[in-house]
């Protein structure tokens, strides 16, 4: 609670929190706000936005409700973003913890695997993975995870390496604690903060990757996504540009919200340090 209070005191954090709260609200309430299948035909084709009160954002070239698409697209976007980021963090923590804690040959092998995933462009990997497995929501989440877990793994390992030599870990060894218990109960909680600090960036990257995949037609064909709406609008870009512009704006607002929240969190957490730090910083800046 205290952290949320601090977060709301930073302008970035407050704005980011509000944007994301609204987006998450829309995503959760999607079926209430616009009931029924968002892919069904709702009216005449290519109704311009703000002309028909029943279809506030108009329709696409098949007569599907754009507002419904954007509302339901929020669900896909946030779900995929959060799930992929969560999976990447869990996998990264696990691999980083094992690599850092075991060291030796295990560390060497795991880190070469991490290297392998870092030198392959994540988007190409996702493209190959989806094309092999077939596009569906879980496959898209997994495809994005594959390209995202290496960074948290490397970060966790570095953190574990610095923690494992601490006195309190030695003390835990002396009292006969099982190595696995030391790793999970003593080291993991301390290794968590830097990884959580990049979690927002991972969510933002996952949302953008999902959009790019569905833009290329490799998203889940059964759910509306902002990326597929932009691609669909591209066919009539000259005559009805709003069809591509509107879902793009929704995407940008969401990602900006994630970035702002992450900056606000960083500030709120840094504010925990002594007030002296802030004074020194201000003093140093001419």
């Amino acid at each position: 609670m205290n952290l949320i209070h601090k977060l709301m005191k930073t302008p970035e954090g407050a704005v980011g929190f509000i944007i994301l709260a609204i987006m998450i609200g829309i995503a959760i309430m999607a079926s209430t706000i616009s009931p029924g299948d968002p892919l069904r035909i709702a009216g005449r084709a290519l109704v311009a936005p703000f002309t028909d009160p029943a279809l506030p954002l108009g329709t696409d070239r098949l007569g599907r409700d754009v507002a419904a698409g954007i509302v339901h697209g929020a669900r896909t976007s946030l779900l995929v973003g959060a799930a992929a980021a969560l999976a990447a963090i869990v996998l990264g923590l696990l691999v980083g913890l094992v690599a850092g804690f075991c060291s030796g040959i295990v560390d060497e092998v795991l880190m070469r695997v991490v290297d392998a995933f870092q030198i392959v462009p994540g988007f190409l990997l996702a493209l190959a993975f989806v094309s092999v497995m077939g596009a569906s929501l879980p496959v898209v989440v997994l495809a994005i995870t594959l390209g995202a877990w290496a960074d948290p793994a490397r970060l966790t390992r570095a953190q574990v390496l610095s923690l494992r030599e601490r006195d309190y870990v030695a003390a835990a060894k002396v009292i006969g604690m099982h190595p696995a218990e030391i790793a999970v109960r003593q080291i993991l909680p301390q290794a968590l903060p830097p990884v959580l600090a990049i979690s927002a960036t991972l969510v933002a990257a996952a949302i953008l990757t999902e959009a790019a995949l569905s833009f290329l037609g490799l998203g889940d064909p059964n759910s509306v996504t902002w990326g597929s709406m932009i691609a669909e609008g591209r066919n009539v870009l000259r005559s009805s540009p709003w069809l591509s512009i509107l879902p793009g704006l929704a995407l940008i607002i969401t990602v900006v919200g994630v970035y702002l929240l992450s900056e606000g969190l960083a500030k709120a957490l840094a504010g925990d340090g002594p007030a002296m730090q802030g004074k020194l910083r201000n003093g140093a800046a001419p």
């Binding site: 070469r112 290297d115 392998a116 870092q118 190959a128 092999v132 790019a212 793009g248 940008i252």
Partner: protein, 329 residues
């Protein structure tokens, strides 16, 4: 041992096993695909009987066991043979060699422009953290960095190519224009303005943010405080000490960006119909062309390793501590 050689050796020692893992994992991934190149080929020519399929499989070596085929692939790779593209009916290496220069030109110019622009704006923003200029630049860069490149590309082409008709909408050059020499180069440049512009806007935001963050940290360093106390002029302090210190993470960023850029080339080349590396990847996916996709992933990994090696060397030139001893990494 020479510092550069030591850096190269260290990078290769970790990269070669990593590349081997890339090859094996990609191979296994593409193996799990339902259907193979023969199925895709037969589908594209309107089908064929079991006999044709069997003989084709034999010709492609698809009738052998998994390990045998992996070994075959690795030995061919040692001869720089990346296999045969089933969708294009051509050697994979030729296709990649043909497409890669377009992508390198696109990404190279976008990187150079955004690096110069981003670091300059980053210095302006970081010169006085929390000033009006800084807040404005930081806000704009935050929004720009949230924009997907394909959406920005669409908007730019809508504005400059469709509405204003200043620039061509797509392609790398005017088809059958018969232009040669300098005129052809200028034609290509005109076609590249929009895609390079879209990428530059987004990458500038990234470099700006990294440079600014580095500057904010550098202002807090003891030696900067000391230099201020000594009465060093502001400009000199800013450029020689603060900005110089902040530039190192920026160069690291270049290495990290290499992979993201190769991945990003897929969408931007799709928007502007540029026959490059990324578009080839998309074509490999549509054509179910496993050897081509495999070759693309492998070549991109090699490119990323090379860029990171270059970044190591540049950083060593900037910072004498890097690679000075055998032990540190």
């Amino acid at each position: 041992m020479n510092r550069s050689l030591r850096l190269i050796r260290r990078r290769l020692l970790t990269s070669i096993p990593a590349l081997l893992i890339v090859i094996i994992l990609t191979f296994l991934l593409l193996e799990t695909a339902p259907g193979d190149a023969v199925d895709a080929y037969l589908l594209s020519i309107g089908g064929g009987d079991a006999g044709v399929a069997a003989s084709l499989r034999q010709a492609y070596g698809l009738d052998q066991s998994l390990t045998a085929r992996l070994w075959l692939y690795l030995t061919a790779l040692a001869r720089l043979d990346l296999g045969w593209s089933t969708a294009f009916e051509r050697p994979v290496i030729d296709l990649i060699a043909e497409r890669l220069p377009n992508t390198l030109a696109l990404m190279g110019s976008a990187t150079a422009l955004s690096f110069a622009l981003g670091s300059t704006l980053g210095i302006i923003a970081g010169a006085k953290p929390e000033s009006i200029k800084d807040i404005m630049l930081s806000t704009i860069s935050l929004i720009l960095y949230a924009i997907p490149s394909f959406w920005l590309g669409l908007l730019l082409s809508l504005l400059f190519a469709v509405q204003l008709r200043w620039l061509p909408t797509s392609g790398i050059e005017t088809i059958a224009s018969g232009k040669t020499g300098l005129y052809r180069l200028m034609d290509i440049a005109r076609h590249l303005i929009l895609p390079v512009g879209a990428l530059t806007l987004i990458y500038t935001a990234l470099f700006l943010r990294v440079m600014r963050a580095g500057m904010v940290e550098a202002w807090k360093l003891d030696f900067v405080l000391f230099a201020r106390a000594k009465g060093l002029s502001r400009t000199r302090l800013l450029l020689r000490h603060v900005a110089r210190n902040a530039a190192l993470p920026l160069i690291t960023m270049l290495g990290l960006q290499a992979a993201a850029m190769l991945g990003g080339s897929v969408v931007i080349e799709s928007i502007f119909a540029i026959p490059g590396f990324g578009r080839l990847a998309q074509e490999a996916v549509t054509g179910r062309d496993a050897p081509l996709l495999m070759g693309i992933i492998l070549v991109s990994a090699v490119l990323v390793v090379t860029v990171n090696l270059l970044v190591d060397l540049v950083q060593a030139a900037f910072d004498p501590r890097i690679g000075a001893s055998e032990a540190s990494s």
